[in-house]
Amino acid sequence: MMKWNTLKYLFKEGIVGLWKNRVMALASAGTIILCLLILGMSYSLGTNIDYILKQIETKFGITSYVKEGTNENKILELRAKIAGVPHVQEVRYISKEAALSSFKEGMKDNAIFEDFTKDNPLPASFEIIVDSVEFQDQVVKELGKMPELETRYLEKETDIFIKINDTINYISWAISGALIIVGLLLMTNTIKLTVYIRRKEINIMKYIGATDQFIRLPFLIEGVVIGTISALTAIIIIVVSYSWLSNILVTELIGLLNGVTFRPIGDIMQRLIPVCMIIGSGIGFIGSGTAIRKHLKV
């Protein structure tokens, strides 16, 4: 195999090559950074749409009607029982009177429902907010076991939301997939070009007796270094702009949607950092390796 001395030389060559071919290195790095930004953007967007829709879903509460004739003690007991169900975040009691007045208010205080006041037909109820919509079914099941309650939740509306959610997820995955492919193509395209520019150099090395491995190694090292540095740069840009943007959006705009937040940056980065690093250094390595191959055939 290669001598230690030679390996050291080739490693140094790779590093020095970055500076000597800085125009090409910058072009590659620029492309990789921009492509990883696209990736990061599409991932952040996708995951946040998901996240935000999930939060909105939880706003669809569960309503449990209390059977006529249930006494006050029993109601207090029920309330405690409901609050004890796992994943229940909030329980609110709405008395018959409150229900009627809110119903009438909904009807804009008009004369049509006048006769309701004679004999209030509306039941008292609990409004229950679940901490995450995924557990809604589970909570509803639990509530179903209480004979004093008649539980109802916005099945249809929740369904629509879940479907929108699914669709958007599906689309955002498709888009992310497409963007990853496009990004990979763009990156290999540029790397190929930068190697193509140096084909004469590669040829010369071959003509004076260098082995393929000898020529390739510095290119691979250059590629990996460019890829890794680009990935780090992209990650920094994503972190900074994500926290900046999500702040602005949360305060300025999403504020309207009472308290919706963006996925915390830590969550995003947990996945994005390894992916960026792997793609960055991988594309640098594999891109350079394959691009150089055909120029070695002299």
């Binding site: 290669m2 030679t6 000597k20 003509y207």
Partner: protein
């Protein structure tokens, strides 16, 4: 050492580089290849280096038919041959020193050897003061001498030089030729394409003349085949 058997080279555009050439060069010889511009001198040298493939024929170097060489073995063939290309082919991103050192790195020389030998060779070709220059900062002749330094640094058993004095003034040319003769005396086989009548005529080595791709003359202790005194005819 070097044998060509019925070697022809026709380029893809139909140009004839070499035309059924037979040639044998023994170990330790010093051979001049002469001939008009475009006659096929460089083609011959490039065939020896497996830079191009012959259209027909066998080329045997060190008892091996190099046309049958596997891809993996080509670098080892080339390490046996030091080359000065007509167009120099220096690495543009490396200094003079690095270009010469690179040839030593290829064969796995130690840093010690490199640090010792490169300055010696650069001194020999008169480039000691240009060691840190990049090729584009050199004059034509300096580039040529860098190429020569690179070709001789590894003490390869064969040296191929394509007009290694084309960009050099007579004084420097003679220094270089002297240096080549020394190398030849140490047993290195030298094949050198040249137009320099004076050098060929003075050194009295074997001269192979190529005309339109064919060997038309092969003389030991030959001279430049230039019977007309052009200077008389044309002026």
């Amino acid at each position: 050492m070097i044998y060509l058997q019925h070697v022809s080279k026709t380029y893809s555009n139909g140009a004839i580089g070499l035309n059924s050439t037979n040639l044998s060069i023994e170990k330790g010889e010093f051979v001049f290849i002469t001939g008009n511009s475009g006659s096929g001198k460089s083609t011959l040298l490039r065939l020896l280096l497996k830079e191009i493939e012959p259209s027909h024929g066998k080329i045997i170097i060190n008892n091996r038919d190099i046309t049958k060489l596997k891809r993996k073995q080509i670098p080892y063939l080339r390490r046996d041959i030091g080359v000065v290309f007509q167009d120099f082919r220096l690495l543009p991103t490396k200094t003079v020193y690095e270009n010469v050192a690179f040839a030593m790195q290829i064969v796995g020389a130690t840093n010690r050897e490199i640090r010792k030998n490169v300055p010696i060779i650069l001194g020999l070709v008169g480039l000691a003061r240009k060691a840190r220059c990049y090729p584009e900062e050199l004059s034509g002749g300096e580039q040529q001498r860098t190429a020569l330094a690179r070709a001789i640094i590894n003490n390869s058993p064969i040296l191929i030089a394509d007009e290694p004095t084309g960009n050099l003034d007579p004084a420097t040319s003679w220094e270089i030729m002297n240096c080549l003769q020394d190398i030849n005396k140490r047993g290195v086989t030298i094949v050198m394409a040249t137009h320099e009548r004076e050098i060929v005529n003075t050194l009295k080595k074997r001269v192979i003349e190529i005309t339109n791709g064919s060997v038309t003359k092969d003389m030991h202790e030959g001279g430049y085949d230039d019977e007309m005194e052009y200077s008389q005819v044309f002026v």
